[in-house]
Structure formats: C-alpha cells, structure tokens
Symmetry: C2
Subunit: 181 residues, 2 copies
C-alpha cells in the first residue's frame, strides 16, 4: 500500500494544481454552460450544495489558475484550458457511472454519487481501460447482456451451482450463430 501525500508536498506556495473540489466546480460550470450558455454563481452554489460566499472564493481561485473567465458580479465561462479539464472529468464520470450502473448494477442515484467521487481518483489511462472493458463485455460474444444478467443472479444466490452452466454456454453459442446469419 503506497499512500500519496494529500497535499503534494509543497504547502508554502499556492498550489497550481486542481483540488478535487475545484474539479467539481469546473464540472458544474461545464454542465451549466451546456444548459444556459453561461454559468451564474447562484446556480453553481446550488449544484455544489454550497453557500454562495463559498462560490465567490472558488471562482477567484479558478480565475487565478486560468480555468475560467470571470469578473465580480458577472457570469462565468470556462477558458480553453478549463473546458479541456471539465470535459475530461465529465467523461470519467460517465464511464464510471456506466460501469457502476450497467455492469455492477448499482442503482442510479448511488452510481452517480459514487462516480462523482471516483472520477477524481482514476487517471485518464485507467478510465480508458475501464471504458474498453465495458465495450468488450458489450461486444464479446462470450459475454454481453445475458451474461451480465447471469451475474445478477449469481449475486442474488451466491453460487454458480444453481445455474445450469452447460445450458447457458449452449445458449450463448446458439445466439452467436443466429447473430451471424
């Protein structure tokens, strides 16, 4: 187990990197921009479940770091740099939520909440691998929707003996033949 210091070592100088919290702000601003062209502090506060005074501070920080365009009493847009990060985080969110929801079959609300936390913990390469994995499950004739369904049954019963594996394999084989014709 290798732990990474939660403040990246350097604490005396202002951090130029994005904290998880600031990543969330970018994600929220991205969402609002998509919906309303621009983001307003009030809506950011609501989505972040935070008081508006807190938003003001976060926006100042994000301006300083070059992720947003913003002046006091005005609306917010993402800079090129900010939009790039926001898209990346949103993509991570979507992939993770898809995995939790469709593969692990966790209910929608919890999947979303969990994805919201996980999105800050996996790098781009790992999330890409997860995406490929989901695609592979979807497209490989040995797996697919019915296999995921079997996983659900396995979860419920806790053993494979209750499942007729031979029949399942046969069904899988036949389905592939029919799909090819």
């Amino acid at each position: 187990m290798v732990i990474t210091n939660r403040q990246g070592g350097n604490v005396t100088a202002k951090n130029t990197e994005l904290s998880e919290s600031l990543e969330d702000y970018l994600e929220v601003i991205w969402d609002l921009e998509k919906a309303n062209k621009v983001a307003r502090a009030k809506d950011i506060a609501e989505k972040m479940r935070v008081q508006s005074a807190t938003v003001t501070g976060a926006l100042r920080n994000l301006v300083e770091k070059g992720f947003i365009n913003y002046e006091p009493y005005s609306f917010v847009t993402l800079t090129h740099k900010g939009a790039k990060i926001a898209r990346e985080i949103a993509r991570k969110h979507d992939v993770l939520k898809d995995f939790l929801l469709r593969v692990l079959q966790i209910d929608a609300e919890k999947a979303d909440e969990t994805a919201c936390r996980m999105e800050h913990t996996m790098d781009k390469i790992s999330v890409n691998k997860l995406l490929k994995f989901i695609q592979f499950i979807d497209n490989c004739p040995r797996t697919g929707e019915d296999w995921v369904q079997s996983f659900m049954n396995y979860c419920a019963t806790d053993n494979l003996d209750s499942v007729d594996c031979k029949a399942c394999l046969n069904a899988c084989f036949n389905q592939y033949k029919h799909q090819k014709n």
Copy 2:
C-alpha cells in the same frame, strides 16, 4: 451529477467522522500492527509520506475520536472500533487493487496507488458487488482467465474483428467439457 459537499455541512463543531486522510492513518497503523504488533510514529510518518509532527496531530485526533490507543511518546494500537474500520478499508483496497490489476490489467504500482484513492470513495456494498463481479469472472465458464486475456488483445488491437470469435467460443465450450470430466 449530484455533488456531495466535501465538509458534510456541519463545520462549526468538530467532525466525528473519519476524513480520507484519517482513514489512511488507520490503514497504515493496521499494517504496522500486523507486522510489528504495535505502530510507532516514525513508521507511520514514513508510510504516510508525512513529517512526524503531522503524525502527532493526526494521532491526537484519532485518540479523541476513539479509534486508537495512544499516549504521547508511546506506541499506537487500534481500538476495537478502529480495527473494524481499518479492516474494512484494507479489504476495499485489496478488492479494488485486484480488479485494477487482474481484470483491467493495470500495472502493480499504479493499481496500488489508484486503489489507495478509490478505497475512500466506494461504500461497502459497492465493493462487495465488485468482489462478486471478480469472482463471477473467475468462475463463470463463459469468462475466466482466457477471456481476460482476450480483453487484453482487444485493448491492444482496438477491435474484435481481428479475433476469431467462433474459435474462441469453441475453445471455451471444450474447456468446460474437459473440466467437468
């Protein structure tokens, strides 16, 4: 996308819950206890990649919250309550690392680092589901090791066409028959 406030709302009173950082401390103490019966501040600092002054503060906090037994200048052990949490986190870590390493085939070091961050983001039920999922992959005759190997090939080539799906299905079928005899 539903964001959960990073300070749980209540900020005026001292938080009784565990932060991610404190969870890491418990995990590290658990590891050291297993290895040396007790944990010493120096070793905790090393494993946490933190200065020893920082450890002192964290230990005070953990005592106050009832997770460890500790008095200044003495060694550390987990209380019953602390050990329970530590075991839970360690288990999450192991399941996540196993998934990243064996299923997604992420290299050991990155898998470990990533698991170290993810372990704080998934609740017990979700991790249990992930564990069941890994077990299902391992034990279902339609998946298993060779299927994971195929996933690796898919990752490298980016398409299924290059794979002979029919041959793969047949091999899978035959393997099952032989295993049963």
